[in-house]
């Protein structure tokens, strides 16, 4: 019930916007966003967040609130049960934070089909929150898919000149991934159902085969390595498109670039997190043996992505595209953090979802504000805005520093943890969590870090500090009623993000403490699985020697 309101409030807001006249749409949108944020904060305060995570009994993953599910489709045993653990709560809060901010950012930018715009934004919030608070496969998949629809329409209706291609490419890419993912889910569920006697509760004695936590416990113990491999591939295809991992990333620059500001912000801040969250929630805990097998390859793709997109960024002429490509690189760090398979890297990866959401979301907001004034996105055509837009320049600088990982700001903590986790993964000093990645992964990814600061600083140097070059005002556009520098509304949009970035950067301990149990739960099966895999790899003789001895002992028992 409590968690249900997180979805219900944006949907209610969408209905209100649909009924009310369109001149009230943006105010209602703001109200809806604020209400979502407000309830998100209240909900977070109710969560036993700072004190203890309820991980006893059946609720191993620490999900809260623990309450009776609502049987939506009793015949197939499907119960709607919503809840969060510390990680999903943080992501819900991130979504809630951006809910009012993107509305604020669109106040003057959207002049046509206003009503629908805010309806789509509200549906997007509801769907994304739905992904984070889902506790069964069907709700998760439904929310995952539904989040595509508003994203598609936001790009297709309100986007730039190539919006049609961008929106189609985005939709088809992600839908393709997620349908293959659905096939993987169906296989998992059926295999679980086989073990309990059937997928209908009438045949299996009332087991809810759709429950993600039950499924996780089943999958990591009973699936054979081959099955795990196929399930991993199917699920990863769905999530890798969303993250996006390197060869599947091509939808992203186009969609980000063509989307309206609010769309780009939503893409960067929350939509990309759906993929990483899926990895956290499904891939790593469910199929440990396959993950150990595939982690080097996935991390390899992530690192290729980091280097490749960083180089692409360097050559970009379009600001939005540059930030979009940098997102791919950043999510690559998040991925290697998660696949380092130790709590340090996992905490880093999870925190990276939050900090990347904040920094790149904020950068898209900044670029949107500048675009509204000058209608230019090309780096070559604009420069030296420091003089005319000092406040804007301050924010851009700040978020750039967050993005490149300046110590003291949010980006640094997560980036550092990701790399640290990767470094120590295969060392002796692994804290009981042997991993399959190693220093080399960290070193190569670290090169991406340097490249990242090069292109970001290049962007800032050109646009903020460079030679003053302000394009001719295009009169007759909406630019008129905006002041040269940011107005109060826009400052209000950026300021909360800035404050949070400082806070996380200076005092990350509470967040990391909250994430830790969830990260450890995600890695429950790992020390053992990795150790087993390493043993098998390192030398095969002990295994061969083991075999006769166990045989002998069993015969002795007989």
């Amino acid at each position: 019930m409590l968690a249900g309101f997180l979805i219900a409030i944006p949907i209610l807001a969408a209905i209100l916007i649909a009924i009310a006249p369109s001149r009230m749409a943006r105010w209602l949108g703001l109200l809806g966003g604020l209400a979502t944020l407000g309830w998100g904060i209240v909900f977070a305060c109710m969560y036993p967040f700072w004190s203890e995570i309820p991980t006893e009994g059946a609720n191993l993953a620490g999900y809260w609130p623990v309450e009776q599910g609502w049987a939506i489709i009793p015949l197939v045993g499907l119960e709607l049960q919503l809840g969060v653990n510390s990680v999903s709560l943080l992501l819900v809060l991130l979504t809630c934070l951006f809910a009012p901010l993107v509305v604020l950012a669109s106040f003057t930018a959207i002049t046509e089909r206003v009503k629908e715009f805010y309806i789509w934004l509200m549906i997007m919030n509801a769907a994304v929150i739905g992904v984070f608070i889902a506790r069964d496969i069907i709700t998760f998949y439904t929310a995952f898919e539904v989040s595509l629809i508003p994203a598609f329409f936001l790009v297709a209706i309100y986007g730039g000149p190539d919006r049609r291609e961008a929106s189609f490419k985005f939709f088809i890419y992600t839908l393709f991934g997620s349908i293959v993912m659905l096939a993987g889910f169906v296989y998992l569920v059926m295999s679980f159902a086989d073990s309990v006697g059937g997928w209908l509760p009438s045949t299996n004695g009332g087991v809810n085969v759709w429950d993600i936590d039950a499924l996780t416990t089943y999958a990591r113990e009973f699936l054979s390595p081959t099955e795990q491999g196929w399930v991993l591939l199917a699920l990863m295809l769905g999530f890798a498109v969303k993250v996006p991992l390197w060869p599947l990333h091509t939808w992203l620059p186009l969609a980000h670039n063509q989307a309206p500001t609010a769309g780009s912000v939503n893409f960067a801040a929350v939509i990309l997190k759906l993929g990483a969250y899926g990895v956290f929630r499904f891939v790593i805990p469910m199929v440990p043996e396959a993950v150990v097998e595939f982690a080097p390859y996935i991390a390899g793709l992530a690192i290729i992505g980091i280097i490749y997109t960083s180089l692409v960024c360097w050559a970009q002429t379009d600001m939005k595209k540059l930030i979009a490509y940098s997102s791919i690189a950043h999510m690559g760090f998040c991925m290697i953090g998660l696949f380092a398979l130790n709590p340090i890297g996992a905490q880093g990866g999870i925190l990276y979802m939050i900090t990347h959401g904040l920094s790149s979301g904020a950068l898209f907001l900044c670029i949107g504000m500048m675009y509204e004034r000058h209608h230019v996105k090309e780096i070559e055509r604009i420069g030296g805005l420091m003089k005319s837009m000092p406040v804007w320049s301050f924010f851009v600088l700040l978020f750039t520093f967050v993005s490149v990982g300046l110590p003291g700001l949010a980006g640094f903590v997560s980036e550092f943890l990701c790399l640290l986790g990767t470094f120590v993964a295969s060392s002796e000093n692994n804290g009981g969590y042997p991993g399959v990645l190693g220093p080399w992964y960290g070193i190569v990814a670290g090169v991406g870090l340097i490249l990242g600061s090069i292109y970001m600083l290049y962007l800032v140097g050109k646009v903020v500090f460079g030679e003053e070059n302000i394009p001719e005002q295009d009169h007759g556009t909406a630019a008129h009623h905006l002041p040269t520098d940011l107005n109060l509304r826009e400052i209000m949009t950026l300021a909360p993000i800035a404050v949070i970035c400082f806070f996380i950067g200076l005092y990350p301990a509470p967040l990391l403490e909250a994430i830790e149990p969830a990260a450890e739960h995600m890695l429950t099966a790992y020390p053992e699985t990795v150790a087993a895999a390493n043993r098998a790899d390192a030398n095969t003789t002990p295994l061969l020697l083991d075999a006769p001895s166990t045989l002998m002992s069993s015969t002795q028992q007989d």
Partner: protein, 539 residues
């Protein structure tokens, strides 16, 4: 196999047949009121037959003695057919307009069949539905053949009657000749089946085939070839590869309401016929089917038939998709999308009775609802007095008719399997059935196809909502009749609301496939359940 019990079960069909006769006569009446009441009368007969179905199929004695392979399947199929029929009547009905009739009589206005109420159209529609309903009660090959023909023969006439242009006639002719060829094919198949088993009755045929499969020689090749040919003929009805080529042309030529009819009713007929025919090979899902005296359990289809269905399913969904990707005409698009959906539904047949046929029956309902929503909108709109033909005609629909644009998007979303719309549940059930029966590759191919299909469905959903209107599409206005738009909106909203009732609907489909184990298994599971929980607790 008492005649009276047979008659009990077909009372809904008889009622509809009476309705067809009444409507044909009333449609000729000179009274304007009477003629205007024809659609109403048709609707009342359909409602009556749906209600009657519920009563008749609740009678255990009639089911017991019906001599059918799947005694209860009619309960579901007849209800579905009746309800779909109601929607189709609303799509295809006209109004009584004396001034227009006089103008036509004097020759000053060309005749437009869609504008007038035609008794014969409604009579043929009812007769075709009677044919579909009778298929459920087929006890032998002859009955099945006659019922299939009854379901399809009126549609040839309906296509030709549906609008006053050459295209309609052309497509009626094409449809008729190809239909005749398919009839010849399955009749040939039936003859071979008879030759191999020596009986026409399905029950006896099942026993003979069961006995044969228990012998050293197995099922005779004759029977397998016969079954293959019979299925090939029926593939025409469900427009599966290789009998699908007619669909786009015929759909394009027929008027919109008629296309709606063609895209739904023959599919229901064909799939029910396939279920029954395959049932003779022993997958009626009953325990006692185990070959007596041997340990061999008769389950699943013979390998050649299963392989053929597998390949046809793959080809159907893939070729349908490829065809649909290339279309600009909305009706051709729907034709190819219908072919693709037949491919998905064939997975249910391949998967067998464990869950597959339930999923298939459920999918049929989901598919019909989506098609009704789409055709409701298409029929409810008109462009300068013409049918909507091209997808581009719908561009900018959101500005003038946001609700209808939304319904098109909902229908497309349901077809692509976007949760939480009904189409998603249908696809999920089918996928589950496929995986459960071990056809993982088939399910993966279907998943990939369903991802590919998102391209054209997205186009279909996107054009009305995203695109700006063009001069051509600005000419699109509301059609003269309200009813189709109402159907479109009711069914479109239904796509969103029916999923709430997934449970009862799926249960209905399930029980309709399982008469024999209707009572006992429920007791069995209730006694089993605690034991399983115990064993889990121990583990």
């Amino acid at each position: 196999m008492e005649m009276v019990e047979k008659l009990t079960l077909i009372t809904p069909d008889i009622l509809l047949f009476i309705g067809a006769v009444v409507v044909a006569v009333v449609g000729l009446s000179g009274s304007r009121t009477l003629r205007g009441a024809v659609p109403l009368i048709t609707g009342l007969f359909l409602i009556g037959s749906v209600v009657l179905t519920q009563f008749v199929y609740a009678d255990p004695e009639a089911l017991e003695k019906s001599g059918l392979l799947f005694p209860k399947i009619g309960g579901y199929v007849k209800s579905l057919t009746g309800i779909v029929g109601l929607g189709l009547v609303a799509l295809g009905t006209g109004t009584v307009d004396r001034a227009y009739e006089r103008a036509v009589a004097s020759g000053s206005t060309p005749f437009d069949p869609l504008r007038v109420v035609r008794g014969e159209y409604h009579a043929f529609l009812l007769l075709s539905l009677v044919g579909v309903m009778l298929i459920c009660n087929a006890t032998d090959l002859i009955w099945l053949f006659l019922a299939l023909e009854l379901s399809v023969l009126p549609t040839y006439v309906m296509v030709a009657l549906s609008r006053n242009n050459r295209k309609a006639n052309e497509s009626a002719i094409k449809y008729f000749f190809l239909g005749a060829m398919s009839t010849a094919l399955f009749l040939y198949g039936f003859a071979l089946l008879y030759g191999a088993t020596g009986t026409l009755s399905f029950l006896e045929m099942r026993d003979v085939l069961t006995a044969q499969s228990a012998t050293e020689a197995g099922i005779p090749t004759f029977a397998v070839i016969g079954m293959g040919l019979a299925l090939l003929g029926i593939f025409f009805k469900i427009s599966a590869v290789p009998m699908h080529v007619y669909a786009p042309d015929v759909y394009e030529g027929a008027s919109n309401p008629m296309t709606g009819f063609l895209s739904i009713v023959p599919k229901i007929a064909g799939f029910v016929a396939i279920i029954i025919l395959c049932g003779t090979f022993g997958w009626s899902g009953r325990e006692e089917l185990t070959a007596a005296g041997t340990t061999m359990v008769q389950e699943g289809l013979p390998a050649p038939i299963s392989a053929m269905l597998w390949m046809v399913a793959v080809l159907t969904m893939t070729l349908g998709n490829i065809g649909a990707l290339l279309q600009k005409s909305i009706k051709r698009l729907i034709a190819y999308s219908g072919i693709t959906h037949s491919g998905y539904m064939l997975i249910g047949i391949v998967a067998g009775t464990e869950n597959g046929t339930d999923a298939l029956l459920f999918y049929l309902a989901a598919y019909s609802l989506g098609n009704l929503a789409l055709f409701g909108v298409l029929t409810g709109l008109t462009r300068a007095g013409q049918d909507i033909e091209s997808i581009d005609d719908l561009a900018g629909l959101w500005r003038t008719k946001p609700r209808l644009a939304g319904m098109v998007a909902l229908a497309a979303g349901s077809f692509v399997g976007m949760p939480p719309l009904i189409g998603f549940w249908g696809k999920l059930m089918i996928f589950i059935a496929g995986v459960e029966s071990g056809h993982i590759v088939l399910v993966c191919i279907a998943a990939v196809n369903s991802a590919i299909s998102s391209w054209y469905y997205l186009h279909l959903a996107g054009v009305p909502i995203v695109r700006m209107s063009t001069p051509r599409s600005e000419a699109v206005t509301d059609g003269p009749r309200m009813a189709p738009r109402m159907v479109g909106i009711i069914c479109g909203v239904g796509l969103l609301i029916v999923p709430i009732f997934t449970s009862p609907l799926y249960q209905f489909a399930r029980t309709s496939m399982r008469y024999g184990e209707l009572e006992e298994p429920s007791k069995e599971t209730s006694s089993l359940a605690p034991r399983e929980e115990d064993s889990e607790a121990h583990g």
